[in-house]
């Protein structure tokens, strides 16, 4: 069971089914404490150091859980726009009762479906937010009504994806590289174009693979399931494909650093880990993180199999990594977590406690391993 229901529901604001009717909160503290402090990063004190009225589209699933805490701690008024399917807040593993009470008593909720563009426009216009963090937007059409509703918006901060880059033999990807208008992520590209074309102060963040506690994309979880079951890890090809993981807390920090930051105005930033990793190397890193013995890795040719709709491996079968030097230079943003440290954090706070999002499914593994046994 992944998300634990909050035991402190009495501290949650009343959330009636249709409208937002939470009381205006007094923001007591202006302290800029963060729950994790980036080592070595210069802390940007934004020019507008006063509290902002911030809308987060999403915010209850993964990135937003950490980002919203950071923003609340910095003294901003934070509203999460969600359908309410996931709990508005949940106590994080390792989070003290007091910290959680503090956060959950302050964060606000606006319940709605962002695909209902009329509702989005009217409800947002009524509130007048200063800043929007769009964490779950996929298509440009979803963003237009937000911009329409908030003509005085100070900043639109968008979670895009490094998946927009056109595949290349020259890597890493830099923000200036060609993008692929046909990619699976073209909605993100179209959103970036819309933001560019509208007269709004926008910032776009392009993460690579995100990992960390509460990850709903089975990235590290995929490896942990196999390591826990003491199964071999099937890796496609030579296992030397290079990918890149970024810890969700470092991503939240980066999102925080662009707030009110003139250097982020109309800029795109790749955000991920400082180093890359091979597929085989990632299997070994996950083993180290969970205290498992060095894994047995089995390589296979994906073309030899028909996995149907199932995904046999959680990463795209190619090199895929991006340079974060622009963010490091412009925002003073250096990741706090190295790969093994970050995976250990994820393991200790999530999988290692018995929680995960998807049940283990070794169907494709057995197809691969079965064929390997037969061919021997």
């Amino acid at each position: 069971m992944a998300a634990t229901a909050s035991l402190k529901s009495s501290l949650l604001l009343p959330c009636p089914l249709s409208d937002f009717s939470g009381a205006a909160l007094s923001i007591s503290s202006q302290t800029r404490r963060r729950s994790w402090r980036p080592r070595g990063a210069r802390i940007q004190v934004s020019a507008a150091a006063d509290s902002k009225n911030i809308l987060v589209m999403g915010g209850t699933r993964f990135i937003g859980i950490f980002l919203s805490r950071l923003l609340v701690k910095e003294g901003h008024k934070v509203t999460l726009f969600t359908r309410g399917k996931a709990p508005i807040t949940q106590q994080l593993p390792g989070e003290s009762d007091a910290e959680y009470a503090e956060f959950s008593s302050k964060v606000l909720h606006l319940k709605g479906d962002r695909q209902d563009f009329d509702f989005v426009k009217t409800s947002l216009a009524a509130k007048g937010f200063d800043v929007v963090y769009d964490i779950n937007g996929r298509e440009a059409v979803e963003v237009a009504p937000i911009l329409d509703a908030l003509p005085n918006l100070e900043q639109y901060i968008y979670c895009s994806s490094a998946g927009v880059y056109l595949k290349s033999d020259l890597l890493p990807h830099f923000e200036t590289d060609a993008v692929d208008p046909k990619s699976r992520h073209k909605g993100k590209l179209e959103t970036e174009s819309l933001l560019e074309s509208r007269d709004v102060n926008w910032t776009s963040i392009r993460p690579v693979y995100i990992y960390g506690p509460l990850n709903y994309n089975p990235v590290e979880e995929w490896f942990f399931h196999r390591l826990k079951a003491a199964r071999p890890i099937p890796v496609p090809g030579a296992g030397n494909q290079i990918t890149q993981l970024g810890h969700v807390k470092d991503l939240a920090t980066a999102f925080g650093l662009v707030l009110g930051n003139p250097k982020a105005s109309k800029q795109v930033f790749n955000i991920s880990g400082a180093k890359y990793v091979t597929f085989d190397g990632l299997a070994r890193a996950c083993a180290k993180a969970g205290g498992f013995p060095e894994p047995e890795i089995v390589h296979y040719n994906p073309k030899d199999f028909d996995f149907g709709k199932k995904k046999a491996f959680p990463f795209r079968d190619q090199h895929f990594f991006a340079s974060i030097e622009k963010a490091t230079k412009e925002l003073g943003c250096t990741p706090e977590y190295g790969l093994v440290d970050g995976l250990t954090d994820s393991y200790n706070l999530d999988f290692g406690r018995g929680t995960f999002r998807k049940e283990a499914d070794f169907t494709t593994d057995d197809m691969i391993l079965g064929k390997k046994l037969v061919s021997v």
């Binding site: 290349s168 033999d169 020259l170 890597l171 890493p172 830099f174 200036t176 090809g237 030579a238 030397n240 494909q241 290079i242 003139p262 250097k263 105005s265 800029q267 180093k275 890359y276 990793v277 091979t278 085989d280 190397g281 990632l282 070994r284 890193a285 090199h319 340079s323 030097e325 622009k326 230079k329 412009e330 790969l339």
Partner: protein, 402 residues
């Protein structure tokens, strides 16, 4: 394009014209925290470069020449190897320094009359002397004699791979009061890792000769820097790089690639190494005590490199994959690059020196192919014994050229 300069000014122009020039756009992206206040105009040009657009080289060179003549002029000694992949570094570095108005002496190891001197870049040393450089020959064990007692502000050892070779140079430099000691090391000393890229500060193989040198000079000099290159291309190269691929492509021979071809490496145009070294000379304070990966800022896969060489040649290439162990060939002899990921990034140079990479492999390879084609090498008789062994093991026929 081949170098044809005579005077320093023309050298600068010829140097500049071969590059992409892009308007140097001032932008809010510029960062100046590490740029010294002492060379404000140089700093301004570098700030432009840091914005991501390659700085217009002519402008950059002009500013540096002003800086040199304004009192920043230095006397630089380059102790240069007489062969191998690093030989060309000294040649480009010398040109960069000369264009900036510095005094340059190149001490090449060995004798002026040796057969080795008939190969590039040595065969083109007139391009250095006509620009005002002194070229001498001698034994690095007695630099003082080789340079007839001259004194220098900066010494670059672009020769030794271990302390036996470099210690005499370093000891002489220290005794002679040399202010800045630079060493061309190697990115090959990094220990292998699951997490590319190699960045400055990562673990190195303690037994490597270059590591011994770096430790020694760190102990001897207040101002030392070490530069760790990988592979280079550029006119005047002493060692084959892209030629290996062109040799096969123009003869319509299959190109044998070990393993999956997904291995990444780093191939820089040597001008990037020269500019990095030159920045260290101009900003000795920033460079002091630092290690710099002397590479460009993009990895390329083996597979991608073949594609780019084919595109540069305008001829389709056929790739054949093989397993060196299964075929029974020594991968080091059968292929010009290490058969593994070997990828360093130039993070320190960017951060500390404000250096930018200008290498653009697809474009640079076109220029390289133009020189290859005009050299006649593509028509020469060549044997491909190892290739043939590989191809027959894999079962790929090679059409005999008509």
């Amino acid at each position: 394009m081949a170098f044809s300069s005579t005077a320093a000014a023309t050298a600068a122009a010829a140097f500049a014209s071969g590059r992409r020039s892009a308007a140097c756009r001032p932008s809010s992206q510029s960062s100046s925290s590490f740029l010294g206040a002492s060379f404000p105009r140089v700093a301004a040009v570098r700030r432009c470069a840091a914005s991501g657009a390659p700085a217009r080289r002519a402008a950059a060179v002009t500013v540096r020449a002003q800086a040199a003549s304004a009192g920043g002029k230095k006397s630089v000694l380059i102790v240069n190897t007489n062969g191998g992949g690093h030989a060309v570094i000294g040649f480009y570095f010398a040109k960069e320094l000369l264009a900036a108005g510095h005094d340059v002496t190149v001490l090449t190891v060995g004798e002026e009359g040796s057969d080795k001197m008939k190969k590039p870049p040595f065969s083109r040393f007139s391009e250095l002397t006509s620009a005002g450089a002194k070229t001498v020959w001698g034994d690095p064990a007695d630099v003082g004699a080789a340079v007839s007692g001259a004194s220098f502000d900066v010494v670059l050892d672009n020769n030794g791979k271990d302390l036996d070779a470099v210690k005499p140079v370093a000891d002489w430099a220290k005794a002679a009061g040399v202010g800045q000691f630079l060493f061309v090391s190697s990115a090959g000393i990094y220990t292998t890792s699951d997490e590319p890229p190699h960045v400055e500060g990562d673990a190195v193989k303690e037994s490597a000769g270059h590591v011994g040198v770096e430790k020694y000079i760190a102990g001897e000099f207040g101002n030392w820097s070490s530069f760790r290159p990988q592979y280079m291309i550029g006119s005047g190269n002493n060692k084959d790089c892209e030629e290996w691929f062109f040799d096969r492509i123009v003869r319509k021979r299959p190109v044998p690639i070990p393993g999956s071809g997904m291995q990444v490496t780093n191939i820089a145009h040597v001008r990037d190494l020269a500019s990095m070294l030159a920045l260290a000379v101009e900003s000795p304070g920033a460079a002091a005590g630092k290690i710099f990966n002397s590479v460009c800022d993009r990895a390329v896969t083996f597979y991608g490199l073949v594609k780019m060489c084919a595109a540069a040649a305008g001829i389709d290439a056929e790739i054949v994959h093989y397993d060196p162990a299964a075929v029974g060939v020594d991968a080091k002899k059968a292929f010009p690059f290490r058969n593994m990921h070997f990828y360093a990034e130039p993070r320190a140079a960017k951060e500390v020196l404000g250096w930018t990479s200008t290498t653009n492999l697809p474009e640079d390879l076109k220029e390289r192919f133009a020189e290859y084609a005009s050299s006649g090498r593509g028509e020469k008789e060549m044997s491909f014994d190892l290739d043939d062994k590989i191809l027959s093991a894999v079962g790929v026929p090679v059409a005999v050229a008509a």
